[in-house]
């Protein structure tokens, strides 16, 4: 039995393809912090201090192995001048697209990260959590990939039309988005984030075929990740990964977040120690799990992917839905200790 590790040591050992003391748990709760502080989701995200407090409480409560200062994906659209629509029981959504015609791509200016209020709250939050972590708990920052953020910037259908029919404008948008993404990722790293989660659902074979990914999203990822000054984890946000694992492994990323639609054991085997696997508890079903079902799912997932390290237990989307009850999250946390302590039971 290995001595008890800090969350940072546990995570780094797993990423190094070795077995730590137990399977690391990245319980990616975001909005649940608002529940803990008895605030609305809108109030909660209005101040960095709220999210620092929320993340602190959640990490302790569930013994999660990271701080996750992710506010909401549409914060990036706010930086580009877009609106955010708040709801009472889910993540804020991007409002009307900021790119309403492909020609807008030519004139749209890349925002300066340092002057965006919506982003400053996040870097303040990272700074606070990093100070608190004292190097013992990984702080994971988040960016939307340049290849995936256009879904919020212009809507999915116009974006697919652009990708297939207006390649020059597509690449012009990629260049602008890359500049923003790199600046934003590096600002989070400078604020104290230990790693960056590179959300890239459009690169998943669920969204575009692998052959198109290799000419688009993969090229963008390679160029972008190379200029992010810290480690990255690519998350396909519920999208499948298996068909592009070999490609993902060439992008410079260290981790892949996988879908509940795939067998995580097969994904891990395909990674073959080149990437660490993160996943893949079904966040949508989790809402109606009993503690017993949660325990069984954790046990099954660890049995499939835990052996030998290279695995972090998490949900499959990168954000636990607001509707998932506390008893389920507690059951997941307990089950990791029960079934995820190394060496794993055969």
């Amino acid at each position: 039995m290995t001595d008890i590790m800090t969350p940072f040591e546990r995570t780094m050992t797993a990423i190094g393809q070795k077995e730590p003391d137990r399977v690391p748990l990245f319980l990616l709760t975001t909005m649940h912090g608002a529940k803990e502080l008895n605030l609305s989701i809108r109030e909660y995200y209005s101040r960095a201090e709220n999210v620092i407090r929320g993340q602190t409480i959640l990490q302790k409560k569930y013994d999660s192995d990271c701080y996750y200062p992710f506010f909401y994906a549409s914060a990036e659209v706010e930086a580009w001048g877009g609106d955010v629509i708040y709801i009472t029981d889910g993540p804020p959504n991007a409002g009307r697209p900021i790119i309403r015609s492909p020609q807008d791509i030519v004139s749209i200016d890349v925002p300066e990260v340092a002057s965006c209020e919506s982003l400053k709250k996040i870097t303040d939050c990272i700074r606070g959590l990093a100070a608190q972590s004292a190097g013992k708990i990984p702080v994971v920052g988040v960016v939307m990939s340049p290849f995936s953020v256009p879904v919020m910037q212009m809507g999915f259908e116009p974006y697919l039309d652009l990708m297939y029919t207006q390649k020059d404008l597509f690449w012009e948008l990629m260049k602008k988005n890359q500049q923003f993404c790199i600046d934003w990722a590096n600002a989070q790293l400078e604020a104290g984030a230990h790693a960056i989660c590179y959300f890239d659902p459009v690169s998943s074979p669920t969204s575009v075929p692998p052959e198109l990914y290799r000419k688009t999203g993969m090229v963008v990822a390679k160029e972008t990740i190379a200029r992010i000054k810290g480690p990255t984890a690519t998350h396909l946000a519920s999208g499948r990964a298996l068909a592009i694992i070999d490609d993902l492994a060439t992008t410079g990323t260290a981790i892949v977040g996988t879908s509940a639609l795939e067998n995580i054991g097969e994904v891990k085997q395909a990674c073959n120690k080149r990437l660490t696997v993160l996943g893949n508890l079904n966040g949508i079903e989790m809402r109606r799990w009993t503690p017993e079902i949660a325990e069984a799912r954790v046990r099954e997932t660890i049995a499939r992917a835990g052996k030998g390290g290279g695995f972090i237990l998490s949900d499959n989307h990168g954000e636990i839905p607001w509707q998932v009850p506390d008893r389920v999250l507690m059951a997941i946390s307990s089950a990791v200790k029960k079934y995820g302590t190394y060496p794993l039971a055969e």
Partner: protein, 219 residues
């Protein structure tokens, strides 16, 4: 309507390939070579719809991507619109149908379903996106909708469908509701929980459900 005569299977496979490689020209050529002018429904039933069904089946199996499903639907919609323009009296007579994205603004799923239904010869009212549950209930009553399709991407919106469906069923018990979208694909019992009559795993799946619910009305 006369019994459709199936095209050679090679044409169907070629059509599917043209759609998946987003080759509009080739798809159009296959239709021209395979279908008899003046018999658009035979063409729909034997070539366009089966090709879309196969694309849908492969999407469900994880073998093709959403972008290919979307572009396939768009191409087929264009082809069918050319043969059978919107409002053409030859289009399938049917119960009144509508589709909406409940609460959120992710419209890709709706767009795919509209394309596939139109490619299948159906007309459907599009209520747009960001539609609130109470507004949807009013629209369905006003238009006397018999088959309602609700598309969602986010879990909160999917859960909100429950309230809308309950009110629609209370006011118009005969209205059938089909739901679809990511939350329903990730939780196989959710469609039942929200009180829908059915769930469309794919757009072509939804087309089959619509056909069944429409019961061949008016064809």
């Amino acid at each position: 309507m006369t019994s459709p005569v199936a095209p050679p299977s090679a044409n169907l496979a070629e059509m599917e390939e043209a759609l998946l490689s987003v080759d509009r020209v080739k798809a159009g050529r296959i239709v021209k070579e395979t279908c008899t002018p003046g018999s658009p429904f035979v063409c729909l039933e034997t070539l366009v719809v089966p090709a879309l069904e196969e694309v849908g089946r492969r999407w469900e199996a994880g073998d093709v991507a959403l972008s290919q499903v979307y572009m396939s639907g768009r191409i087929c919609e264009e082809i069918v619109d050319a043969m059978l323009p919107p409002g053409d009296p030859q289009r399938i007579g049917q119960p009144k149908m509508a589709i909406a994205v409940l609460e959120d603004h992710h419209t890709l799923g709706k767009r795919i379903v509209v394309s596939v239904l139109r490619a299948g010869g159906y007309e459907i009212s599009d209520y747009g996106h960001g539609v609130m549950a109470e507004d949807l209930v009013k629209l369905v009553a006003k238009d006397n909708i018999r088959i309602l399709l609700i598309s969602t991407l986010m879990l909160p919106a999917a859960l909100r469908a429950k309230q809308a469906i309950a009110e629609i069923k209370k006011a118009q018990p005969q209205t059938k509701v089909i739901v679809g979208g990511a939350p329903f694909n990730f939780d196989s019992t959710l469609w039942h929980e929200v009180g829908a009559d059915a769930m469309g795993h794919t757009a072509s799946d939804t087309l089959a459900l619509v056909k069944e619910m429409a019961g061949g009305d008016g064809q």
